[in-house]
Symmetry: none
Subunit: 126 residues, 4 copies
DNA sequence: GTGGTCTAGACCACG
DNA sequence: GTGGTCTAGACCACT
């Protein structure tokens, strides 16, 4: 369900957050659904429980999940707030990329078009 | 000429590398032109010389500059290789952003259009 | 496993890089195998951790290893690229040596033959 | 007559030594022939006189030239000693290269053959 | 004056 | 525990 890429530069806790958030916005995780316990997930992924704790704490801080003492961690209801947040971040990244492309004298839209074309060709092979 | 943003999360040496590379690809720094000495730049930016040294060493490793003991640091000639590398990176970032946008169900081109419109309005104020 | 020759003119960090690269191309270090930690290797070799850090950072920059915060340093997978690079360097050195020998009016192959003969004799003693 | 490559990694004084020694072994500079003065050569090459002094001092130390107070620097007579020294160095380099090639599992003689073949082809174009 | 190397030690992020 | 960044300061090689 959740998997870690040890070659990935990003810290493990961030990879976990990313995946939980994606599952929430895509609907794979529904409001009030229970997440695996810190210990169980740590066992399954063979990583340090502290790392899971950190991911869950940050998810709670962001309002994606809520925790109940002694019961566990659950998906919170305000999915749309999360979507807004993720879109805001995406927008920010796009803005910084656009700025960089312009500094380089490149038309970002042309790059995107090329990428989509390639994918159509590549898709047939894959 | 070079400045450091302490609010920026990126390490100082990386900010310096970024700026030197930009000045090279934009033509603000020409081949064989001398860079400020390690000690002088350290003074100007009020940071430790080791940090400058590190930035310069990495720039040399990447072929952007060349270093000569007792003389200084100079812009190297192969600018086009650097431009290619930076464009490759830009392309990679664009691809990952495009993927993320699609996962979110967002049309990245619309986002870019909106950004450019905003800037036109903002440009009048600034 | 790794040792430093203080009579060697080359810097310590370069000696370390050289040895790690050799162990990788020879297969003594396998992909994803963990390297000794910065602090431990520094202790073992009785040198400053910064020096090890520098060697590891350069090895990562060259794609020989990959570094993960909080976990350690690991051999990366693309060994063949490293072998190609090392062979290219060897070829370059051979070319420059050949040129020098010819300028001196010496047949480099005779020199090599003599060296190998000597070694056979020396081998019996050692 | 003597020229400096500022892109060359080697220090300037070493480049000068190298060239003087070559001219001696090749016969371009004859015993007791006078070298340009420190000041004049420094002017011609547009470099610091200290650098020329250092080159000359090392050349004298190695017995390649001799200096006479107030008269200048002259090529010394023992050319054969210099040739022996240069051959010894060449031999050393060959030995270290051979060792490296063997560690890499490469037959150095094959490399040399390939290099000479290439040069014959390349020579026709150049 | 220039850069290059190394040491010592601090603080932070990650697991 | 791990690596990453930065500071402070030393010493050396080169111009």
């Amino acid at each position: 369900m959740i998997y870690i890429d040890y070659r990935d530069k990003r810290p493990i806790y961030e990879q976990i957050i990313e995946q939980v958030e994606r599952m929430v916005t895509s609907g794979a995780l529904q409001p009030d659904e229970q997440l695996p316990s810190v210990r169980k997930l740590a066992m399954d992924l063979a990583i340090n429980p502290n790392t899971i704790s950190r991911a869950y704490a940050l998810l709670e801080q962001r309002g994606v999940i809520y925790s109940r003492q002694g019961r566990g961690n659950f998906i919170s209801g305000n999915v749309s707030a999360l979507q807004d947040e993720r879109r805001r971040l995406l927008r920010e990244k796009a803005a910084s990329l656009l700025e960089e492309a312009e500094a380089e004298g490149i038309d970002l839209r042309e790059v995107l078009n090329a990428l989509q074309e390639e994918r159509q060709k590549g898709g047939l092979q894959a």
